[in-house]
Amino acid sequence: MIHRRNVLTSILAVAFVGGAAAQTPAPRIPVTASFSIVADLVREVGGDRIEVSALVGPGQDAHVYQPTPADARTISQAKGIFINGLHFEEFMGRLIKTAGAKAPVFRAAAGFEPLKASGKHSHGDHKGHSHGDFAPDPHAWHSVPNVKAYVGNISKGLAQIDPDGATVYAQRAAAYIEKLDALDREIRAAVEDIPKERRIAVTTHDAFAYLAREYGIQFVTLQGVSTDTEISAAGLGKTIREVKARKAPAVFIENITDPRKIERLSKETGAKLGGTLYSDALSKADGPAPTYIELMRHNIRQLKQALAP
């Protein structure tokens, strides 16, 4: 039965491609992604068959996002809704309810072991931040193996809302996963070029725990895991002491947060300013990180440049 259906979809897919070449292209299936990174992955897997819109666009911060009426319309017209999950999109549940969206919701971040949000990098003085103490850390896309799971889940989700495209999605997902494997090797090679004792970076918010676990770069952070908590004087003081004590070579600005505190930190600790890391959002198309793969490449390049002697 399954076999016959696959053959059928292949024939349909061929017919579709042939027809599309001859006539006007078939209307794309509208799907919504919660933020720019998941949107990029959905686009990679969905290709021409789908039209992806992201609620939280490039350069925007999902922690402080405010839904607009246009977002409610977008989401109510979508045939499928793709989110990161792991409590990253706290606005999503209410938005889906108020918008009356009927489309199925697919969580991309599933099929691997999530880290706890209050891991070894939190400083203990950010209790009560919005993610709670036992919540998982949602920033799982900073580990490429996790994103391979994301891609599998997205492919399954797309096949569910568009069974005719299932083979196309599976093929595209497989091709993309090959690119991800190459990216993974690239990152590991870059980390190898940084001496072990210099693999410490300082960032504004605790977004890189997965990168830390996967690739062995340690991160000291200024804020807790969410950008919506303001650091206290004591918190900033502790961070300065920690950065000095661990001799972190460089501090990094993130694309979604105010750079002034981290500049202050750099001046006060003598750690050099290491450029911008893209944590929770892609850059605009003309920026250095317009796609997920470019984002990871950009980040590891910045880290290597600043940390390697």
Binding site: D228, A233, A234, G235, G237, T257, D258, K261, K267
Partner: protein, 290 residues
């Protein structure tokens, strides 16, 4: 002695604490003086409206030039002055009273400011704009704050007499000289300058606090203008220092901590203030017995 040393240790250890203190001292020397005059002219609420108007101005500056101190300051100055003048104009030309005119500006400014800030997927932190970032004062901001403070003190020293005269009886000075109107605008200009300086450290919502709270507190203790000015500055200086130290040791947000300390002094003065406090008024004075 050791206790005091450990209380002050963060200032010795961290540059950002010294910068926060320096910025606060600069603010405390001039902003409460403006507050005293705002209070005497019954313009405290106007001050609040002007303070809010700085937000959309600064946001516009941000949209045009990014996180640039110059553009945000200039935008704030222009918008603050515009509202200071417009609020007066509306009161004089329509049937709305001043308090209504002020309330409308105040809320429109806040809405416009936040809309502008969030308009184009920005990475500036709205919280930081509303509540300031006294812990992240860079060189340029500190220079701006100390500069504004110096200009204010200098201008007040030069023009204190005509200004007091204008404020005490605006009809009189205007009848004998053209300086009356000029004094009014000079004062408004100084007020907006101070508010923009305070905006960088304490944000839109809190910065008026460092002007009005010390002035109101001082008013509860004395009727004399010179003492009023001196004690409001002293109260502001004390509130800033205690607030910063408390925010460090108790792990509180620094801006609100400073204003809360000023608020505690104010509350205590409402009870105990010799010139207008509750208790001295309730307790019968000796000369009434005789």
């Amino acid at each position: 002695m050791e206790g005091i040393a450990s209380l002050l240790a963060p200032f010795a250890e961290f540059g950002f604490m010294r910068r926060a203190l320096a910025g606060c001292v600069a603010l405390s020397v001039s902003a409460p003086l403006i507050g005293v005059f705002l209070m005497l002219r019954r313009m405290s609420l106007v001050g609040d409206a002007i303070q809010h108007a700085i937000l959309p101005g600064a946001a516009l500056g941000y949209l045009v030039a990014g996180l640039s101190l110059g553009a945000m300051t200039l935008g704030g100055l222009v918008a603050g002055l515009a509202v200071a003048l417009l609020a007066g104009l509306i009161t004089r030309t329509t049937n709305l009273r001043e308090d209504t005119a002020i309330a409308t500006f105040y809320i429109l400014s806040l809405a416009l400011g936040v809309t502008l800030l969030t308009a184009r997927g920005t990475n500036v932190d709205v919280l930081r704009v509303l509540f300031g970032s006294v812990l992240a004062l860079d060189d340029a901001t500190l220079l701006l704050m100390t500069g504004v403070s110096s200009i204010t003190v200098l201008a007040l020293a030069l023009f204190l007499r005509p200004m007091v005269l204008e404020f005490a009886d605006s009809g009189f000075l205007r009848s004998v000289s053209a300086a009356g109107g000029a004094m009014h605008f000079l004062f408004l200009g100084l007020a907006v300058l101070n508010m923009v300086a305070a905006f960088h450290a304490l944000g839109t919502l809190l910065s008026i606090g460092i002007m009005i709270l010390p002035a109101a507190t001082a008013r509860l203790w004395t009727n004399d203008l010179t003492r009023l000015m001196a004690s409001s500055v002293a109260i502001a200086l004390a509130s800033c220092s205690v607030g910063l130290v408390a925010s460090y040791h108790l792990e509180l947000a620094s801006g609100p901590a400073i204003i809360l300390v000023a608020g505690c002094v104010y509350m205590a003065s409402i009870l105990a203030g010799r010139a207008g406090g509750l208790l001295p008024r309730l307790i019968p004075r000796r000369h009434l017995e005789g």
